[in-house]
């Protein structure tokens, strides 16, 4: 019995010693004043430029620019002018990361990985239709290049959605395509 007591006493002394050592270690380690590294989000798309051109009425630029990404500022949407009625426009899309200087062109990346990307267009009002003008290596549409047709004069909307890793081929609807939304912007235009 005495040996056990002796053992316990030794053990408890040892544990007190270990504890005080730990205190010393922790207090000496806690002065770490290095600043953390900033996270620069990769592959950010800040800007989408949709250029619509027709031989008759020149170029129209639809731009959505959101320089603070997921920050509180909403994207700034600009439409450079009105579209002409009953006209077919050739459309092209440019994506930029303007947080870098010079701005990084993300369109190149999308066309390189074309099988993993697709733009979707939803139109209403005086915009009658859109058709794809480009295909990936599997023959499925991409949408960097497209054609847009206007109808009678009035108001219209164009919604442009870029999906990453959608199901390809798909029936053209967002629901069927799935994937991750990289861009979802809509533009209100006047057709005259």
């Amino acid at each position: 019995m005495n040996t056990i007591k002796e053992f316990t006493r030794k053990t408890s002394l040892r544990s007190i010693f270990v504890l005080s050592m730990l205190v010393a270690i922790i207090t000496s380690c806690s002065n770490d004043d290095e600043n953390p590294i900033a996270v620069d989000e990769e592959e950010v798309i800040t800007t989408m430029n949709v250029t619509l051109s027709s031989t008759n009425s020149g170029n129209i630029l639809l731009q959505s620019q959101d320089l603070d990404g997921d920050g509180p500022k909403p994207p700034e949407i600009t439409v450079s002018g009105n579209l002409a009625a009953n006209t077919t426009y050739t459309g092209s899309i440019e994506l930029l990361n303007e947080t870098e200087t010079p701005a990084e062109n993300i369109t190149t990346e999308v066309s390189e990985e074309a099988t993993e990307h697709q733009f979707f267009f939803n139109t209403s009002g005086s915009i009658t239709s859109t058709t794809y003008s480009d295909v990936d290596v599997d023959g499925n549409p991409i949408g960097i290049l497209f054609e847009l047709t206007t109808g009678a004069a009035g108001n219209g909307t164009i919604q442009v959605t870029l999906r990453h890793e959608p199901k390809k081929p798909n029936d053209g609807s967002l629901a069927d395509a799935g994937g991750e939304t990289d861009i979802a912007q809509s533009f209100t235009v006047v057709v005259e």
Partner: protein, 797 residues
């Protein structure tokens, strides 16, 4: 109650000149705690026929003893004998102190069947049977059996307990006397504990247990292992559970070796695996789970002193419902309106994105020593390391990169002194020191939702119970906590300005990176808390308790700093640097009756919380990827009023019914609107039949009725880019009421020892009812779990 007599000898003998075989031994038997004399103890010299009994003053004597070593056997009518060795050198005086509060190694109060942590607080325990039945579930699901406890879920596997309407950082979880530091601030962060590691689980509703912390506005969950019997023994238990829903199961096993000397070693391990869970009409794709846990205790408990080393590891990998991963607010509107999941895949055991991987290490060393006629001193150091990875569906090169990678390390020192020398008065004083650091890994490529920070806590307290008379016991406690949080946080310049921090906090900027600012917020919080109450034992069967608790909680890192897009939840969460501590004043009372025939508990409470911190949807923010709902923290004054009631009746010796009801109402007093996420009232009725003669057969049927929550904050109106108009985002509307049935049957058999094998069969959601619960964050997307039939086998050896 059977006493265990424990003898302690102090070697303070007085030596007087000796004559051979003419010495006198004068002894005194005293109570260890308060030095009061003990009468009626029988003292015998072993190997001889000399026997005597201690007198009223505790004294006894033997004459005509020879010098040398003798052994005394001291026994009490209700106690087991104990031996003391004494050296006789002439006339000898020997004090012998007896401790009779010890039945097993743990200290157990002899009064009442269930040891309680507080005197006047509302407290409830889970029985071992209930814990066994919940062995394959989460802690939250097990605790739901306690009146007034509900859960905040993210699907079926991420379950956070809610006590009387409050959850998260307002609830402390004590795992083996270590306060869990496992990022409890997140709504989708489940407690990192293995329910099978602890067989004693109790809930204290409110902040009455000040020794654990002054900020338990919601309550304290105490998880402890069962006390180990001080005897030479080796025993263990293995339990296997199989589940139909999720098509998986778990196994848990423990082995305990204990010695008469008080030394013990215990090992325990669990493993759990579930595939996709199922709602009545479809598979809940990507809701699988894998959990591993093990723990090791080694220690020695003696009456005078003891020590323990404890280590536990818990790891879980949890799939997050695939259909809950949405792109933007239009997807959310679409999900809420369609009431159908947009993705349902075939059943699989594989866990894919989005998912979480969390591991938790917990180590503890403690030591205690008793001082005769004074009290017990305890010292504890504990270490915790919590690592959390959250994976979202990411594409391209980032596909396998976590979106959130946090590592939270905590060191705590605790010491306390329990003074119990005065009869009827127990006082405990203690102090706490804690250091915590959080590191958010920048390699995720996603801006940190929670920043790097260091946190220092220091607290001290004094609590006491005073037994005024046989029926009245009073208690009171005071506590002070200091807490400093020192963070290094990046803000987007646009966010910094939008929040107005450029006006209030410009001095904390330490680096301007153009689009981002590095800031160094340092906040100090001084919090005083207190509690007082009484326990009035009206008679053997009836009891009345009243408690008042004032508690203050400093804001957690999420409430202060969170800032960013939660990709999997498609919501932007915003903390606020201006958030102050919240202060709760809670009055609670309970009147109880417990007899062999019937009993009841009626426990109302009023909890008034100033500067109550809430997270609620406020608006939407637009980005190039679409619009996202913003959930922002704000402070207001809140009032929670509620009641927990339960009643049972033993109709015959075999048939028993139990009825439980709980209700809580939460109001934002500043705006006079209901609070968000307050559980709906629920009514639980059960009937059970037991027959000890038929292998302890138990058959029970339980009905659970959850009312519709009719009090909820207004929905928000948002602009839907897809619909090009303002629409109501139905984000706060609770789902309708629902009713579930559950059944359970079990029986025990004898293999080697009496009733050492138990087999049980249970079913939850017996009728396969489709329902959604208000406190399930996935209610926008899918129905809750359907029928689940489970089989359990328990073997004790």
């Amino acid at each position: 109650m059977k006493y265990f007599l424990f003898v302690f000898a102090v070697f303070s003998s007085i030596l007087i000149t000796a004559q051979d075989c003419n010495s006198i031994l004068l002894g005194e038997i005293l109570d260890f705690h308060d030095n009061s004399p003990l009468t009626g103890a029988t003292i015998r010299i072993t190997g001889k026929s000399n026997t005597t009994v201690s007198k009223e003053d505790g004294k006894f004597s033997f004459r005509n003893l020879c010098d040398g070593v003798i052994e005394l056997e001291v026994s009490h009518p209700e106690c087991t004998s104990k031996f003391v060795t004494i050296t006789i050198g002439g006339d000898t005086f020997q004090k012998i102190r007896l401790e009779h509060h010890i039945e097993i190694l743990e200290e157990v109060k002899v009064v009442g069947d269930i040891p309680t942590t507080t005197n006047s607080g509302q407290e409830e325990n889970l029985s071992i049977k209930e814990i066994e039945r919940s062995s394959g579930n989460s802690l939250g699901d097990a605790l739901k059996k306690i009146t007034g406890v509900s859960t905040l879920n993210t699907g079926g596997n991420i379950v956070k307990p809610v006590i009387q309407g409050l959850s998260g950082s307002r609830i402390l979880i004590l795992n083996n006397n270590v306060r869990m530091q496992d990022m409890e601030w997140g709504e989708e962060h489940a407690p990192n504990v293995d329910i099978n590691a602890n067989q004693k689980i109790s809930v204290i509703k409110g902040a009455a247990a000040l020794e654990y912390g002054g900020d338990a506005i919601g309550g304290v969950i105490v998880l402890e292992p069962l006390p180990i019997i001080r005897a030479d023994s080796l025993f263990g238990k293995t339990q296997v559970n199989l589940f139909s829903n999720g098509r998986g199961g778990n196994i848990t096993s423990s082995l305990i070796k204990s010695y008469k000397s008080g030394l013990y070693i215990k090992g325990q391990g669990s493993y759990k695996r579930l595939g996709d869970l199922e709602a009545p009409d479809y598979i809940l794709s990507n809701t699988g789970l894998q959990e591993k846990g093990f723990s090791l205790n080694i220690g020695k408990r003696d009456f005078i002193q003891g020590w323990e080393g404890y280590y536990s590891f818990f790891q879980s990998e949890i799939g997050i419902l695939r259909a809950s991963h949405i792109g933007n607010v239009d997807d959310l509107i679409q999900s809420i309106n369609s009431q159908q999941p947009n993705i349902v895949n075939d059943f699989t055991y594989d866990i894919s994105r989005p998912n979480q991987e969390v591991s938790h290490h917990l180590g503890k060393l403690n030591y205690y020593r008793r001082f005769e006629g004074f009290g017990k001193w305890t010292l504890q150091y504990d270490f915790q390391k919590n690592r959390r990875f959250e994976y979202d569906i990411r594409v391209g090169e980032d596909a396998n990169k976590a979106s959130l990678d946090l590592q939270l390390t905590t060191h705590s020192f605790l010491t306390n002194l329990k003074l119990d020398a005065t009869q009827g008065l127990d006082v405990k004083i203690g102090a706490l020191g804690r250091f915590q650091s959080n590191i958010a890994n920048p390699d995720t490529g996603v801006r940190r939702l929670i920043p790097d920070y260091e946190k220092f806590d220091f607290g001290f307290y004094a609590v006491g119970d005073y037994r005024l008379s046989n029926s009245w016991t009073l208690d009171a406690g005071l506590r002070y906590d200091f807490s400093r949080i020192d963070a290094k946080k990046f803000y987007r310049t646009s966010r910094w300005e939008e929040r107005g921090y450029d006006e209030d906090f410009s001095e904390i900027i330490i680096e301007d990176l153009g689009t981002q600012l590095l800031t160094n917020p340092v906040f100090d919080f001084h919090n005083f808390s207190g509690t007082t109450g009484f326990n009035y034992e009206i008679n053997n069967e009836n009891n009345l308790r009243f408690n008042y608790a004032l508690s203050k909680r400093a804001p957690n890192p999420s409430e202060l700093f969170s800032d960013g897009l939660h990709h999997s939840a498609a919501r932007i969460e915003l903390g606020d640097l201006r958030i102050k501590s919240e202060t709760s004043s809670k009055f609670s009372a309970s009147i109880e009756k417990n007899s062999t025939q019937w009993g009841y508990t009626l426990a109302p409470f009023v909890n008034s919380i100033d500067n109550f911190i809430i997270l609620e949807p406020t608006e939407v923010e637009f980005t190039i990827r679409g619009a996202f709902p913003v959930w922002a923290y704000r402070q207001t004054n809140a009032l929670l009023v509620g009641v927990d009631a339960s009643i049972y009746n033993n109709w015959t010796s075999n048939v028993r019914t139990e009825h439980k009801f709980s209700w809580v109402e939460g109001t934002d007093r500043s705006t006079d609107t209901p609070l968000i996420n307050i559980p709906a009232a629920n009514l639980n009725n059960s009937i059970s039949y037991t027959n000890a003669k038929w292998n302890n057969l138990t058959i029970s049927l339980e009905s659970q009725y959850i009312f519709e929550q009719t009090r909820f904050p207004p929905n928000i109106v948002v602009f839907s880019p897809q619909q090009q108009q303002e629409v109501v985002l139905d984000i706060n509307t609770p789902p309708p009421r629902y009713h579930l049935l559950a059944a359970n049957t079990e029986a025990s058999f004898t293999i080697k020892n009496t009733n050492d094998f138990t087999i049980g069969l249970s079913a939850s959601n017996l009728l396969n009812t489709s329902y959604r619960d208000y406190l399930n964050r996935l209610r926008y997307f899918v129905d809750d779990m359907g029928r689940n039939i489970s089989l359990r086998l328990i073997y004790n050896y």
